[in-house]
């Protein structure tokens, strides 16, 4: 199941004290499927990274009852390892590793007793996403963009994190591949109850989200329900 998000008085400052993002209040129920749109440089990805605790910020970002901004670096890392799955625009895979190894990457720094289960889970996700055993054993260097992003999704889901953050997940894919990926993302979020927050310029992806936030000049300028 997903986890709820509650943001209060979030401010992210850039170099020279410039305000990159200011978000007075935002509440997202557990299991929501949220899209974030807005022009380039508006602060969409900044919001995503702040939600993951990767940026220093003021205010509160509460995942369930845990305010990630109050945590120290080690605690934030632990929180991300088990609580947040992340997907990036250009996949960020280790080209030298197989799909299996990439999907189970987080097993390398998890306690030994959890590794086998995590690998098993990663492998199941690869299969669910259409990458069979043969493909899973191949180096991702030979994969297409769509296959790579599915490996990245399997990696994000392997830890059974209740939150999935996606930064422009379809930006490096052709239309057909992107559409299939959107199907995969939305389906897995719905079936697992994962809270999905995706930053995107892709109207196809935004159109599939239950709720869409618009960020302009570092401010929340739009918040609407499902776009049909």
């Amino acid at each position: 199941m997903g986890v709820s998000l509650s943001i209060s008085g979030l401010t992210v400052l850039g170099s020279g004290g410039r305000t990159l993002l200011r978000l007075p209040q935002l509440d997202v129920p557990a299991g929501s499927i949220i899209g974030i749109e807005g022009p380039s440089g508006a602060g969409k990805s900044t919001l995503l990274y702040a939600l993951a605790g990767l940026l220093e910020a003021e205010g509160q970002v509460r995942w369930g009852d845990q305010d990630i901004l109050r945590l120290g670096p080690a605690q934030r890392a632990r929180f991300r390892a088990t609580g947040i799955g992340m997907i990036f625009q250009d996949f960020l895979l280790f080209e030298e590793l197989t799909a299996d190894q990439n999907a189970a990457l987080t097993a390398l720094f998890r306690p030994a007793r959890e590794r086998a289960a995590l690998r098993q889970h990663a492998s199941s996700w690869l299969t669910s996403l259409g990458l069979g055993a043969d493909a899973a054993r191949r180096s991702v260097a030979s994969f297409s963009g769509g296959e790579r992003q599915r490996v990245a999704i399997a990696r994000a889901m392997a830890a059974k994190a209740p939150v999935l953050l996606a930064d422009e997940p379809t930006a490096s894919l052709d239309r057909a591949t992107a559409d299939r990926l959107i199907d995969d993302l939305v389906t897995l979020a719905r079936t697992t109850g994962t809270t999905l927050i995706a930053v995107s310029h892709d109207p196809h992806l935004i159109a599939r989200m239950d709720r869409v936030l618009t960020i302009t000049d570092g401010k929340l300028t739009g918040d609407r329900g499902k776009v049909k």
Partner: protein, 437 residues
């Protein structure tokens, strides 16, 4: 603590020293790696930056190999020369340079030397503490082999009585050193002098027959032909050391009146302590000089010791420079894979895991380079030892000693600890800019 340590066998002490030197790195490595499995990532990073990694490994290997090879070679040379002088307990000659006399008698590098007369030789040979008093005569050659005149007792002593064939019995017979290319039964005419300036027809009347071959000694004497000293004297038109009434006697006792002179006498005493008494007794101003070749070599080693220290320092400086280059390289390489590191951090990898990945990468380069360096050092030392042996006939072997491993362990320990620095610096890189790069 000193007591139990001294009670340990030398091997155990050496192993413990190596482990103690390595222990800081082993402890740090254990702490950094505990509970993590970073090797797939380390392999991936090594493969991605295989060119740069190979270059670093090569750099470390050359540095370690040079240090080990040179020091092993120097040690091998020292052992070889000491071994060559082993059979020359005490040398007595006319006063002059001990080094020159030693070079002439032990290492067969003849030089013009004044001669000891028959009375002096007799005094040495008849001394109650002397077991062997071998006059040495050199100056002739055959091909590249020196032809040395001496006594049968000394020839036997030199080869530990291991002679293939038999000992000479007449003035026309000779023993070939182990490396002389003359078979038993071969005949030859000695030339007067050595090398290009040798007069090959000066001793045409002297036809010598090889009747035996000495076992290898690992000294320049392996490439010498030994003949009765009477032969050398006779071919030079001198008295042969014996009164005419003695006929064809070979070997001592010599008749002082018919003793043409010898540049040096190699003495073996009946007891170790007697060497010192003999040295004192035959160290006489303007008459004789007695010295231990081993002591002369020790003086030489003291000079070489300074050279060794300089070489050690050079090796150390080279290794420090390489270590600095490796650290710099790790900084640069860690900049190259900063996105992968940022990804790991975004996925929730703990700081210690990041440290483990970067440190393991550096450790792999260092350990691989050091291992290759040891192998190349052994190879280089072996090749150099063969060249030196071939050029000098001094048997030089250059196996690695524990001191080499201790230096290596110290080098590895320091550099492995220093590798934590670039690993720690990586942790300070901001994650988000790297993810967006």
């Amino acid at each position: 603590m000193t007591g139990p340590w001294n009670d340990l066998p030398a091997l155990a002490q050496d192993i413990l020293w190596a482990l103690m030197l390595l222990s800081p790195a082993l402890i740090v490595g254990g702490i950094v790696l505990r509970g993590y499995a970073p090797w797939p990532l380390v392999r991936a990073i090594l493969w991605r930056f295989r060119g740069a990694s190979a270059l670093f490994v090569l750099l470390i290997a050359i540095s370690v190999g040079m240090g080990i090879g040179l020091l092993a070679q120097e040690r091998g040379l020292r052992r070889g020369t000491a071994q060559a002088a082993d059979k020359f307990d005490l040398v007595i000659s006319a006063p002059g340079s001990e080094l020159s006399v030693m070079m002439a008698t032990v290492f067969l590098q003849p030089t013009d030397m004044p001669l000891l007369d028959g009375d002096t030789y007799a005094a040495i040979a008849t001394h109650e503490n002397v077991e062997i008093a071998a006059p040495i005569a050199f100056g002739d050659s055959f091909g590249n082999a020196s032809v040395i005149g001496t006594t049968a007792d000394f020839a036997r002593y030199l080869a530990d009585d291991q002679i293939d064939g038999r000992m000479w019995q007449t003035a026309g017979e000779a023993l070939a050193g182990a490396l002389v290319p003359l078979a038993i039964g071969a005949e030859f005419h000695p030339a007067h002098g050595h090398g290009d300036s040798a007069e090959t027809d000066a001793h045409d009347g002297a036809e010598l027959t090889v009747v035996g071959r000495l076992a290898p000694t690992g000294t320049p004497w392996d490439r010498a032909i030994l003949v009765p000293i009477e032969t050398i004297w006779e071919v030079h038109g001198l008295a042969n050391g014996h009164a005419p009434a003695k006929g064809t006697q070979i070997g001592p006792p010599f008749d002082a009146a018919y003793f043409p002179g010898t540049p040096a006498v190699v003495v073996r005493s009946k007891a170790l302590w007697a060497n010192y008494a003999l040295r004192a007794e035959f160290t006489r101003d303007r008459e004789t000089m007695a010295f231990f070749p081993g002591a002369v070599l020790a003086q030489l080693y003291r000079v070489l010791g300074d050279v060794r220290q300089i070489m050690s320092l050079m090796a150390l400086v080279t290794q420090v420079l390489v270590a600095a280059a490796v650290l710099l390289g790790l900084f640069i390489l860690s900049r190259l894979f900063h996105r992968q590191i940022a990804l790991l951090r975004a996925l929730g990898a703990p700081g210690r895991f990041i440290l483990a990945v970067v440190w393991s990468f550096g450790a792999t380069l260092l350990i691989t380079g050091a291992a290759l360096g040891v192998l190349s050092g052994i190879g280089a030392a072996s090749v150099l030892a063969r060249i030196v042996t071939a050029r000098t006939d001094i048997l030089v072997t250059a196996p690695l000693g524990w001191s080499d491993f201790h230096v290596l362990a110290g080098f590895l320990s320091v550099t492995l600890l220093l590798s934590l620095v670039p690993a720690a610096v990586v942790l300070r890189h901001p994650v988000v800019p790297s993810l967006r790069a």
